[in-house]
């Protein structure tokens, strides 16, 4: 069994991600009520070993990973890749170079 953080932490993590997605009204969302419902249903059982509970825990962890990774990926995407390709001047500028200029305009050599 994979080492996972406690169900409460996972639940809080998902709530945090949902708030990041939906803003302050996240408690009214479908996902909020569904996730809370699932966590409550699987909270405590009489069994020492409950397979369904562990499955739900793993799925919740996976969902948290999906939400968090998508958010982080999008942040990095917007930061580094979101603006399309850089112009040759910009690329040269990144490493502290400037493109050569032609003093007399194109074809001045003649």
């Amino acid at each position: 069994m994979a080492a996972l953080s406690s169900p409460l932490r996972v639940c809080r993590g998902i709530m945090k991600e949902l708030r990041a997605i939906q803003g302050p009204s996240y408690k009214k969302s479908l996902a909020y009520s569904y996730v809370m419902d699932q966590f409550r249903k699987n909270k405590v059982t009489g069994e020492r070993y409950c397979r369904a509970q562990q499955e739900a825990h793993h799925d919740a962890h996976t969902y948290l990973c999906l939400l968090a990774s998508t958010r982080n990926h999008l942040i990095l995407h917007n930061l580094y890749h979101g603006k399309g390709e850089r112009s040759p001047e910009e690329v040269a500028g990144l490493v502290g170079l400037r493109l050569p200029t032609q003093p007399g305009g194109k074809g001045w050599e003649k």
Binding site: Y34, H58, T62, Y63, C65, T70, H73, L76, Y80
Partner: protein
């Protein structure tokens, strides 16, 4: 290209609005109807909700219109959990729709439309190809630190799967990879065959992401978390990062993308395979 990505139910309105968005794409044929996921368009709806349609399947409503697949079919999800997760993806979009962040939607579309028109056998064969060149079976001979790392990190998973499925896989540092016995492939072929078409779509997706059948089964059987599996899949890269340093715009970017895709695929498999949709209390004597 945008035209194909999303069709809505009111034909007149959607054609008009889409024509405005993509006039130069009108001449593109059917071959390009499956657009690249990098295309973006404006968010044109306020409310996202789900409803239960005929046959107990769930539909996604954007305002009052029903979501359709790129192939023009009605978008349906087999259960409530998946429908809610998809609806949440649509709700998460801000000003523009970023389809490359909507992995569960994409997987559902693939399963519904089956754009490559493959059957289960073809998908299983494609998946098993990855077993022959499985990430965790390919070992390096140098440098010694990496050899040690691969042995310490990959061997436990390999032992786990060999015990779990009672098969023989082994590892190799030859360019040809290990010689996988036919019996092993048969075992996995049978096992994969027990999944339905939807689950298999997700399963193949995860396998192609991680480049590993072993790690994929590790997640699906809940032996590994997504983070662990992604780490193991990128082991050599992590080793190089530790040695040469981390570059956020390449390494972290790739890692988060791989995690998101893997998590989406794994969740998709779990939500669409029968066993996890029946959640009942197990009684012990």
């Amino acid at each position: 290209m945008l035209k194909g990505f999303l069709r809505l139910q009111s034909p007149l309105r959607s054609t008009l609005s889409l024509r405005k968005v993509s006039p130069r794409n009108q001449h593109l044929g059917i071959a390009l109807r499956y657009s690249t996921a990098t295309a973006e368009r404006k968010r044109f709806y306020q409310d996202v909700s789900i409803s239960q349609g005929e046959g107990g399947v769930f539909e996604i409503n954007l305002d009052r219109r029903k979501l359709k697949t790129p192939g023009g079919k009605l978008f349906t999800a087999p259960n409530e959990a998946l429908a809610i997760a998809v609806a949440t993806e649509w709700d998460a979009q801000r000003d523009t729709l970023k389809f490359y962040t909507m992995h569960l939607t994409t997987l559902c579309n693939t399963a519904l439309d089956n754009p490559t028109e493959r059957n289960k056998d073809q998908m299983i064969n494609a998946s098993l190809k990855f077993l022959e060149t499985d990430t965790v079976c390919y070992r390096v001979e140098e440098p010694p630190a990496l050899v040690e790392l691969q042995k310490n990190e990959w061997d436990p998973v390999l032992h786990w799967i060999e015990n779990r499925y009672n098969v023989n896989i082994g590892s190799s540092s030859s360019i040809l990879g290990p010689d996988i016995p036919e019996a092993t492939k048969d075992t996995f072929r049978q096992h994969l065959n027990s999944y339905n078409f939807w689950s298999l779509t997700g399963l193949e997706y995860v396998i192609t992401q991680l480049k590993s059948v072993v790690l994929t089964m590790g997640i699906i059987d809940r032996h590994l978390s997504v983070e662990q599996a992604v780490l193991l899949s990128r082991l050599e890269e992590e080793y190089q990062i530790r040695r040469w340093g981390n570059v956020e715009w390449a390494h972290d970017y790739d890692m988060y993308e791989l995690r998101a895709r893997t998590a989406a695929g794994a969740l998709f498999v779990h939500l669409t395979s029968e066993s996890s949709t029946v959640k009942r209390k197990l009684l012990q004597d």
